[in-house]
Symmetry: C2
Subunit: 243 residues, 2 copies
DNA sequence: GGTCGATTGAATCATTTTGATACAAACTTA
DNA sequence: TAAGTTTGTATCAAAATGATTCAATCGACC
């Protein structure tokens, strides 16, 4: 199918969606000691947005989020959690979508279903950066990672959604021991610590961090790493399997 | 207006609401050392439900929750917080509402707007028990308080909503120092402690609880209470005004 | 009026957790 | 083989928490 056919199909699918309800995903990744967020770019309008979509009438909101996440990253079985629902009357305008449609030859009338008011259920996902293939949707041209400290201006209220996702992640980090989802299967203590430091945005004392993590007894040593670096090689850890 | 007229007005207001979106409120109160939840009772079907409603197209979800809370309790300026959105496809059936309407002479067709799928945004409220006047809505006949340990079977997924509200409240209790909203303006340390014990569902050591609360320096002693009881009278506290 | 029982407010001490520093071990480079 | 790094762990001080004790203050009762 051509892009235009895709868009036509999408626009005609309006009645299959639950009205007024959308889903937005804040997809976090960790790469080169930086916390990243996956954003979509609309080349035509040079706008940025969170990956999002709508809820089919025969699927749950959680399923919709899982589906959207899969479509934008190619991965399933991801740590995904709802964190807030954004229900303001005026969450911003849909000019970007209108312009994008227009650039493909679709002129939306003001009462078109896509231009109505939506409340958005926000989910955040924690993914293994290395396993993700950012994939744009029918509105966008590029999907790419952006450092959490350099998020551009986003459409609608998406900047606020990112902020809320980050503050929720911070709050949950200790409570739920959720950070490991951002690393690959095996990792060093140093990598884990810099992940925590990045999310919490503060330095932690190495010795105490190590003591705390080990005291939880959820880590398992795999092997000594022969890093080739000029120092004592670190242990490699992975999460204990909770059979 | 007669009840039937009220219902007619409500049913005709369908187009004024945001489709597919509802709001449910878990209203917590504290009375006689017990945590209470405000429930509505449908006399005709002997069913119970959480106070809830729909979001007008020109109001935000938060405003809708505030409005619903006010309508059911007569109080404003209440601690109210969104905690989760329930977005399953099948959250249960609407038989109770259908029967209630029917008992008032309104037979709803299966495609009636009230019988469609809704996602529900859950809010919990913490109110001063003594200031609340439970007020039924047009579906219900009685509004009343129920001990958290004796919640009857509720319609739809409302039991699950109560559970989630309670677990969120527990999680937030220390983090946000939010419990005071459940007490009257002045209270004794003993009352505050039994509130914490009730919410957390565990005993706390009196001396240590007092030490912790005082160390936070958010409490202000008002006076000695001449309780009339046969023991040393306790201090009365209130929250420091954070000018 | 004096004693008793009850509860409050605070002190005390032991235990645990956390913060900060120190040091030996293991590796590469030169 | 010495120097320079980072890692893993030990150590000690400080803070937070758990558990117990005790004096103070009231009404009830004799």
């Amino acid at each position: 199918m051509t892009p235009s056919q895709n868009i036509k199909t999408f626009l005609e699918a309006g009645p299959e969606y639950l009205p007024s309800v959308s889903v937005d995903c804040v997809i976090f990744g960790f790469h080169e000691r930086q916390l990243k967020v996956l954003l979509l770019e609309f080349k035509h309008t040079k706008a940025f947005a969170l990956p999002g979509g709508f809820v089919f009438k025969e699927e749950s909101a959680d399923e919709a989020a899982t589906r959207i996440l899969w479509e934008r990253t190619g991965v399933k079985d991801i740590y995904l959690e709802q964190f807030h629902t954004f229900g303001e009357q005026n969450r911003g305008n849909w000019d970007v979508h209108k312009a994008t449609m227009s650039s493909h030859g679709f002129e939306l009338e003001t009462n078109h279903w896509l231009l109505q008011r939506f409340i958005s259920i926000g989910y955040y996902a924690l993914v293994d950066f290395s396993k993700v293939i950012p994939t744009p949707d029918i509105f966008s041209d590029i999907g790419g990672w952006h450092d959490i400290h350099q998020i551009p201006t986003l459409i609608l209220d998406h900047n606020r959604i990112v902020e809320k996702a980050l503050s929720t992640l911070r709050l949950m980090l200790d409570y739920k021991l959720v950070g490991f989802n951002l690393l690959s299967e095996t990792f060093t203590m140093n990598e884990l610590q810099s992940l925590y430091e990045t999310i919490l945005d503060k330095k932690l004392l190495r010795a105490n961090f190590q003591r705390k993590m080990l005291s939880m007894e959820i880590l398992e040593r795999v092997e000594k790493k022969f890093s080739g670096k000029a120092h004592k090689p670190p242990y490699i850890y992975r999460i204990k399997k909770t059979t």
